[in-house]
Subunit: 339 residues, 2 copies
């Protein structure tokens, strides 16, 4: 009886959802000739794998201290970033670089500012074992997870085998991260043909963004993330940061200070800006980008219009229930925050 009623409940809700779907108004002509495109829908989702990855993303037991999780520096309440100049790692170490947003990161050509990880799966293993970040080892992280019966069961259910290695962990985290897209920004609605989605001011900002050359690097669905470019093309960038960028991966001197172009999606939420977090506001970031990369000094009015446009790139933030983590067992090694 209870099952029948639950099925009835599901069926009625499905009918209701279909009714809403059918009511989406017909849209005007899509804009397909722009250098920016809408965010593609997420495909091939394995819900159980995503759910497991979400738990791991929020689990501080993947760190030596038991205090730092992926979400600490890629906080999904705050645009998938930590809103700090550079991140805080184990033992309050000051990180060398600004935490890039995890939102829409599946659209990037590679991961990390220097692109040293080819995809999200490869990236996910990095911070866990980085002594300045989560300060654990893959081996200890796996030992911890294997001691937690709830995880063991869930990994088995998702992967259909009993192996629990860093491969399964990073694969699940990456599957969750692939769902972290932010569709339906006002700019995307405009691209989809909704002329009322942008104000005159914002449209003028977009035109300036295109005409002055910003779009040369910040293009595609992620407005960036698809190339490496030198920080300081026209004028050298002054920074206290020691990050050298792409050269650390390729060894080629020509790649010095080449960084992955950051996405501008949700840029309103991902302050402060640049690899060193030096620009606290969009106004400062736009001004500096104009001078450093384009040799152009934007007027106050131009700057404000570009900033207004950039704020239309804030999309729907991922909505999901805070995961409840399976408890440790008596065999779980206690975290070691202070030694």
């Amino acid at each position: 009886m209870k099952t029948t009623n639950r099925n009835l409940s599901r069926a009625l809700c499905a009918v209701a959802a279909a009714a809403m779907w059918a009511s989406t108004p017909a849209l005007a002509q899509k804009r397909t000739d722009e250098p920016v495109s809408t965010i593609p829908a997420v495909r091939n989702i394995d819900p159980a794998k995503v759910e497991l990855g979400k738990k791991l993303f929020f689990d501080p037991r993947l760190s030596k201290s038991g205090f730092i999780s992926c979400n600490s520096c890629h906080n999904l309440s705050m645009g998938g970033s930590d809103n700090l100049k550079t991140s805080i790692g184990h033992n309050w170490q000051q990180g060398p670089i600004n935490s890039p947003t995890v939102l829409n990161s599946s659209l990037n050509l590679a991961q990390f500012w220097d692109g040293r990880a080819k995809d999200l799966k490869e990236q996910a293993g990095g911070p866990i074992a980085n002594p300045g970040e989560m300060a654990f080892t893959h081996e200890l992280a796996i030992d911890t997870l294997k001691s937690i019966p709830g995880y063991v069961a869930e990994f088995r259910q998702v992967f259909k085998h009993d192996k629990l290695t860093i491969d399964e962990v990073t694969s699940a985290i990456a599957a969750f991260e692939e769902t972290l897209v932010t569709p339906n920004s006002r700019f995307d609605r405009w691209l989809d043909g909704d002329n009322a989605a942008l104000s005159k001011n914002e449209l003028e900002g977009y035109k300036l963004f295109k005409d002055s050359g910003c779009v040369a690097c910040h293009n595609g669905p992620n407005l960036g993330g698809n190339s490496f470019q030198k920080m300081g093309v026209v004028t050298a960038y002054k920074t206290a940061s020691t990050a050298q960028g792409r050269v650390e991966v390729t060894g080629k001197d020509a790649d010095r200070l080449n960084f992955k172009v950051p996405t501008l999606r949700n840029v309103e939420l991902t302050y402060p800006y640049f690899h060193d977090g030096q620009a606290q506001t969009l106004t400062v970031a736009v001004d500096l980008m104009g001078r450093l990369q384009l040799g152009r000094e934007f007027t106050k009015d131009e700057n404000a219009k570009i900033v207004a446009f950039l704020k239309t790139l804030t999309g729907q933030q991922p909505q999901f229930a805070l995961p409840i983590l399976p408890p440790s067992s008596d065999k779980t090694p206690p975290p070691r925050p202070f030694n």
Copy 2:
């Protein structure tokens, strides 16, 4: 048209929910003569205030560093605690005491281990301004919130006035925390008359829990939280902790090492145990409590039965969407994690 369909959707879902509700089986006689009672339902909820409080609870901008939120030490993914012996504060300071769970904390007679805050509202202001925890001041926290347009609008909507002080902040956080109850544990289902909710072993554990005297302090709806008791009644407690307990509030020497009796609700999730976090497992905690408080050495079998009973106290964890925080503005003072 869209609105009509949305209303249809809501109506159909309501029908579906009612159908499920109607199928709840009739329960046997409730057990009302036990020293433990079920968790009372939350009343008088102001949903907008709770939503605002939830955002504040998750917002690290209430800390000097911009890195530590209420949820850092009262992690709602982990039983409302941090699962560390003692907590990590600003600049990785080692806290003096084990973080008590925020779950069901509205049922406690007072807040903090020494009861120095009379209620949740008073408690909520403590960690923000504690130099060893969030290391901010109330003034700076308010300045920060006032610079965030999304918060200013939300405070106005909730409180129907333009005042934004620490009073409004702690009142909203407390409202959210009052919703963090965990009903429907297996033990509560047994109290409600469901005889199949507990195994024979678990029931024997409950009987031992009552007969050997644990229930003298761990009683009521929260199985604790309703009195202060000395840690080490029969045998003195050996600890490196300098926490002195209730004496620090009353100044009375008789209150030395008197602590608020912790709740046993969700105790399976809130390891490690005691004010100093010295007991890593329930087995150790039960053993030590027997020796220290009751002068009784539980056999291995007795200990296992009590632990089995304690694990039936895990209730439904609060389920809610991770809040999306309103972004800072150009006027928001940047966090200062490293100075």
